[in-house]
Symmetry: C2
Subunit: 314 residues, 2 copies
């Protein structure tokens, strides 16, 4: 089933202990779409500027991603500048030039209207809500957000949360959103806000899914939480986009499956980790552009091997 | 096979958001011994004071733990006073009265000499090394340490590390010991210091085992790392002793098995998490005293359920 993703397509200038890149293709929707494209058809809605060339667009189309929703506006594309030091746990933002993104008004091409899965990447919750309302027939809605919207746009965000089947955020965002440090209690509070299923990403420690009821799908009821590992990596070249790649692998795999069962959901968590582990191996989207489905399956097996008691390869 | 553990048997006065206790039985060797006692015979070497009563000793003997190595000295037992607030990630030490522990000279009873497994809990590395040298015929040696010994007694600690098959420490200790933030690189450095197998505990995120070669046992060679989950808990009453309980479950299970295979090692990591998850449910050793083997097996299954893709209960 096709996923429609709305979010940012941007350029990133990044410095990490392993080097620096200037204006490489980035943005949440980009990482998400590339990661998801290995599993299911993806359609993207975003706005870019004149600096977004045919070569940049080819990064999407080579992966079969539908770019008819990629709007060209006068001006420059969204540009984020950041650096990672030491632990590389979190980015230090050195600059955010919204440029054409500042007046982004998502327009949904007619050809996208039959999308069954919707992913609301991290953008203004007002826009997330609008896109959601214009896609009344989607089967499932998954979304992301960040500290800025949680702290300064809580009311708008609350409206989006009520519409979500799955919310995908990290530890810090879950704690900020709920005022609760304990993640189990935080999950309960999030579930009361709307999304019955919450996936909390723990960075290098993996991710946990909390299930709150039957609303996501009859196949995934109030189970125990599920923990997926992350791959211990000797070298993280650039963590930018790891979370969006997790979301792409997770949601892409879900959308690719005819039926949502607990086992499918669990596998989706693993594919999320797999795609995140590729992204951080290189700067920007380099690795996501070149990875093969065979490498993905091989790494999936590696995730099994590092987490399963009785994995045959052990 | 029997485990000999040397370490602290102490009294803890603890305050957490869930209440406070005064002078409850604690200490690394206590938590370790109780957790391990559900799997294998355990013998303890420690020093206690006059405040350690027959009732306290019965906590050990009720669990079949051999206390002939429990030395009574004049004075009071080691007393630790600490509190946890907010995230409860780390304790704030409010006071440490070493008391009789200050002049602790471990003496190994003859009846303990045939122990096949040795656990060197977190004490002065000089004492760890001495006990190790007096037990030349043990089959396996596992040890713990803490920031104080890492920073101020590095040379003595280095001698102990060379004698260890497995080192069990947490994220912060691994980073401090190696000066390396990345845990994969930190593991490689630790392995060059002696222990070919390193288990790093990540608190609420579980634990990772790194295997560096064949020295631990021919059955566990240079495998990929293995990640064991921790149980997401809505309520952590008192985290004190969780790490020592992990060590007890881990090492106790290993010692109980006739042959060390990769699968046995993996299961040991799960049992470590299981025992840690019980400990934090109540203050001090309360839960470790009352848990049953049936509850342990039930929770082991729960650990499978929250981490395995194809667990039958899913």
């Amino acid at each position: 089933m096709a996923i429609l993703v709305v979010g940012s397509v941007a350029f990133d200038s990044i410095e990490t202990p392993h080097g620096k890149v200037d204006h490489c293709l980035g943005g949440a929707a980009t990482h998400f779409a590339l990661a998801a494209s290995y599993f299911t058809p993806v359609r993207v809605i975003a706005v870019v500027g004149k600096d977004f060339t045919a070569e940049h667009e080819a990064v999407f189309t080579k992966r079969g991603i539908d770019t008819r929703g990629l709007e060209r506006a006068d001006g420059l594309s969204f540009h984020w500048k950041g650096s990672y030091a030491g632990s590389m746990d979190s980015a230090k933002t050195l600059g955010t030039d919204l440029n054409v993104f500042e007046k982004f008004e998502p327009k949904i091409p007619n050809e996208y209207k039959d999308s069954e899965y919707l992913f609301l990447a991290n953008i203004d919750p007002v826009l997330q809500a609008r896109v959601r309302s214009e896609m009344p027939n989607v089967r499932r809605v998954c979304g992301d957000t960040m500290n800025y919207w949680i702290s300064d746009h809580a009311e708008n965000l609350a409206k989006v949360l009520r519409e979500l089947d799955v919310l995908l955020i990290n530890d810090g965002e879950a704690r900020m959103l709920t005022g609760e440090h304990n993640l189990v209690l935080a999950a309960k509070k999030v579930q009361a806000m709307g999304p019955k299923t919450l996936v909390i990403k723990h960075g290098e420690y993996g991710a946990t899914a909390f299930f709150g009821g039957g609303s996501f799908d009859n196949g995934v009821k109030a189970l125990h939480p599920f923990r997926a590992p992350a791959l211990p990596l000797a070298e993280v070249v650039d963590p930018t986009g790891a979370g969006d790649s997790f979301a792409g692998g997770f949601y892409g795999y879900l959308a690719s499956q005819p039926k949502l069962t607990p086992e499918v959901f669990r596998r989706a968590m693993f594919y999320g980790g797999v795609m995140g582990s590729f992204t951080v191996e290189r700067f920007g989207t380099e690795r996501l552009q070149s990875v093969t489905r065979e490498e993905i399956e091989e790494r999936f097996k590696l995730f099994m091997e590092i987490s399963h008691l009785d994995y045959a390869g052990a």
